[in-house]
Symmetry: C3
Subunit: 459 residues, 3 copies
């Protein structure tokens, strides 16, 4: 639906100038190109799952790294299975202005194209693939925020509901041709439908789980619990940046004619410049505020710019795209301490990046796209926010009062890797147990200054 | 040959419905698309060499990490050179129902296409590139299994023979149009031709080399020698998963018409769901058996699903593909302790993943493809297994009794990085020397419990 | 301009055999394919920024890793913004045999294509994207060479000038259609225009900055300061190798006809074999010279082969491409100790790889391309070398005598991560402070032998 609508839109808008595009001789090749675009761009979006995995692996403490690795790869597996079992149908099967599609297995049918009728536009499986990886991305947003204290199987159970039911239902409202799409709500590649959804789900999770032990002192002090591997976090950001070309570029949903190719090119360049703007703005602001240029703020600034441009990368000029990204970068520098003030413990900054900038990007669409209105954009953001917060709260609470969602204090202290996965991420390295609240034995080469607040890990 | 046959097959099967596909006006563009598909998908398969490198770097102990890095990148270099010097010709030059092609330099000739005759289907070099990266992948399977005790130059000498002679000869039997292909043996993208070949070569290597010191205790106990970097292993798995879209998707061997594009889409989606099925099945089984959800089993489960679907990703339904992968995931959880019981020391689980699931996937083809027969599939698996085991045993034994294949006990204890590469992988980190059999000095921050069995590395 | 010229060249050279290529019916699709090639190949080149980031993160000491991460990702952001604000125009806007284009914002105009005239050949933004990532690559070369002692903001200020002014001006001389292009200077994908430019900029930076403390002893001894993470360096090399397919393959600048597809295939295969040749040659030579097969020399050998083939990957035979790469690999093994003898402290070997092999590759073009002359190639190498050395020296010196370019001795000793970024790259790991010149306390599990020259980091 998403792409059918887009294809029609492109067709209508460009009809006067692109009469040649409907010519029969190129239509099989257009079909092939549309399909290949979904596949190549979908692979790039799948790659973002690795990006989230590396980013989060780098930003949690070493005692929880193996767990976050397993979560990030297995949630992608769950997204694939659930989107096949029900998600795709719920999102796209006969929504037609309504609130959701139907339950049931997705089944492809390409018979028409094999019989020479290419009006479907692309191979069915290529569209399924492209939409599935988006579903996985929404889920990836959650894992980082609730890391270091959630039970892995409870988290995965949550992912089943998020990818099988919650994500597809709200997705049907816009990309499935549902009521928000009929109102004119615009979200090109998912600032709201993907990123804010992950953000809202993460927000309810973080609130219901509570903060990590030792994060917020009794005197109101916020203890930094620094990430254990900055190059991995940087690699993750690079991967996400790379994958975002596919996320936004592929959301043109066609490559079979010159207009689509031009649009895809513009989208990719705007996406890139928004990332640049977000990163540089965050770096400058953090240097001014804190006199050091915090690397994780730079990384999150780039991601903030990417999230912000995602709602409308097709219409801004390059300068406007850079600015939209830059505002995202500034918002993230402000939002991180804001959530800490609320004692909402977001391990990797996912709320600041995906929720705050997802909203910002969606609300910024009318600045450069006259088809969008601030009111409709606000209605879409709010409706999806309320729905996802309510739905995910129910799921988190059901899990909490049945199987439980939080590991014990002892398990949290020792780290989820040992207690849940039975395996350390870095068993060969002598590690320093950062954070936590136990007694700190003075040993080895660790300086007294650090030991004072941080117990040693008896690795 | 591989693709010529496939193209003809596709052509014949779809001839009634696809009369338009042979139309002259699109043929140059079809040629371009076929070529571009080989290049893009080939790049993804090349990327799998990095995936193997990171997976294996994460699963060996820190004292052997630099060595495994060098092995993984240099074997890809060797594969490139040998496939140019002889491999491609041996595999594809005039096999015609026989057992091998001819020795000699590969030489491209695209004159016909430049003169306007596009019946060759694709640029010669694009096919060479795509086939070469498959050859490299077979070789990558071996390095992880025999890690931590093999001499690097002996290993690279083995790679020369594997990529230059052994892999191409058995490959010629099927993809080169040789006797197995004439019998009707089906292996779409190489469960047998690539993965089991690497697996058999690794098996003979692991047996002839013997186990690592300290792996198997005198009382029959199996000592875990845990991998040193789980995020790297996870990254490697993500890379392999991503690359597999190219491995299987590119093996459609065409993109110039709608039928190929549809087939490629189906293949990619089945590939993805098999990985999902393998991972989730392995995670659930390992949780039931061991009460913890071992992250490396999850990773190997995903890879097991990918190997299993590779023999026939084009015919199963999505549900069948998920199940084929899930059986692979279950097999890997069973196979890992099985090989340990036989005291065959497989450092990264390569035999369980690539050999066991390669066989499983090949034998599963007849379940969903009526053109395949269990007997023919079995003959292919067995013939290639016997050939590769005999041939690689000869090579390993010749190396063993000439230059030697195993490092000394002292070198193994200190780690190959220092003794063979002259460089540590992580020189800045204080490390704990895991495994080995020396006396254990009690020092620093290491707990007595671990020290009891593990000597400290004086890094 | 770069591609316009190339397209015309291809058109003229192949005119007799490719009459069909100008046929109207395929031209919109050719336009789409040219555009898509720029986008896909450009994404691969963007990915090289991550490759440089990981390579350099692996080759610096752990106390400077977070800083090098931030530098590598932020320089790519700066390149994007500056190439938009002025770089692209300076390089391509009306150069016509001259020395530079004009200042001013880049503005796309695809109106002709939308009106059905596809003679522009590709979407404007796709070309901008492809050229921008090349600009970023030149800048990435610099960061590794001057690592571990440069102030981050001064480095980024340098990047602004390099990517906004210096790179585009010299680029305009060749790819912009300027005076060197009119003389017949040939540099297919940038051995000189990208790699040697980064190399010259790094050379002046390394000289003006001076060597790291402790690198060169008073007795003339060179102290190795080993990189902290070899798997990351290996990953970086794999990423760069992968990205180079796009770097060179995309520089065919077209994909809309069979001749372009054939050329792209040949270019990618030659690129691959040059990397193989460089790596294997470097490994063999280093084994002979030093009796160990240094992994970083293997990695740099592969990169040396890649840089060397970049000036002319379209004309050599596969054997010649392998040899051109192999000579690059040999040069890098010779050049690394050569620069150390000159006490030019190049942290990652960037001068040996990008400068030396960039020159070698450019001078090697006439061996396989009869359109090139040694004299013209030499003039191009020298002119660009002199221009970039003078221009970058001015920038480095202005920065040195205004804001300063080098961190204090105390900051260098503690590491830039703490002093400039306020964050450690690996805070959880107990680290050994390698290099430096302070007093060495004997502590923990560190052997006396190492401690004698290396103080412990009180992490």
């Amino acid at each position: 639906m998403k792409k059918l609508i887009s294809l029609l839109t492109v067709g209508l808008l460009l009809a006067p100038t692109l009469a040649l595009a409907e010519d029969a001789p190129v239509s099989e090749i257009s079909y092939v190109l549309n399909t290949f675009s979904f596949l190549v761009m979908g692979i790039l979006v799948m790659w973002m799952a690795a990006g989230f995995g590396m980013l989060e692996s780098g930003l949690v403490r070493s005692k929880n790294v193996a767990t976050i690795c397993l979560k990030n790869i297995s949630l992608f597996g769950i997204a694939g299975i659930l989107f096949y079992l029900m998600g795709y149908n719920l999102m796209y099967a006969g929504v037609d202005g309504g609130y959701m599609g139907s339950f049931g297995l997705w089944a492809a049918d390409d018979a028409a194209a094999l019989a020479g009728d290419y009006s479907g536009g692309y191979a069915a499986a290529s569209d399924w693939f492209f939409q599935m990886v988006f579903c996985g991305a929404a889920c990836s947003v959650v894992s980082g925020c609730v890391a270091e204290r959630i039970k892995i199987w409870s988290f995965l159970a949550f992912c089943v509901v998020l990818t099988g039911i919650i994500y597809p239902i709200q997705g049907s409202w816009v990309w499935g041709g549902g009521w928000l799409s009929e109102m004119g709500f615009l979200d090109f590649a998912g600032s709201t439908l993907v990123h804010s959804v992950g953000g809202w789900a993460a927000l309810t999770g973080a609130i219901i789980l509570g903060a990590r032990k030792g994060k917020y002192g009794k005197d109101g002090r916020v203890n930094p619990l620094p990430g254990s591997n900055i190059p991995l976090a940087t690699l993750g950001t690079f991967i996400l940046w790379m994958g975002w070309y596919g996320f936004n570029g592929g959301s043109v949903l066609a490559l079979g004619d010159a207009a689509s190719a031009i649009s895809m090119s513009n989208v990719m360049v705007n996406t890139n410049l928004a990332a640049c703007g977000g990163m540089i703005a965050a770096m400058i602001l953090v240097q001014i505020l804190y006199k050091k240029v915090d690397v994780t703020m730079g990384l999150n600034g780039a991601l903030a710019g990417l999230v912000a441009i995602t709602a409308g990368p097709d219409t801004p000029s390059l300068g406007a795209a850079t600015l939209i990204g830059a505002v995202g970068g500034i918002l993230v520098v402000i939002a991180v301490p804001f959530f800490d003030k609320l004692k909402i413990d977001d391990v990797v900054g996912a709320l600041s990046v995906h929720l705050v900038c997802g909203i910002w990007g969606t609300m910024a669409v009318p600045f450069t796209n006259s088809d969008a209105s601030f009111l409709t954009q606000f209605i879409g953001v709010a409706a999806i926010g309320v729905f996802v917060m309510v739905a995910t709260s129910v799921v988190w609470l059901v899990l909490k009062y049945t199987v439980g969602i939080r590991v014990s204090e002892e398990e949290e202290y020792r780290g989820c890797d040992i207690t849940e996965i039975g395996m350390e991420a870095y068993p060969d390295f002598q590690t320093i147990h950062l954070g936590g609240s136990g007694v700190a034995p003075v040993v080895g080469a660790v300086s007294a200054a650090r030991v004072a607040t941080e117990p040693i890990k008896h690795s």
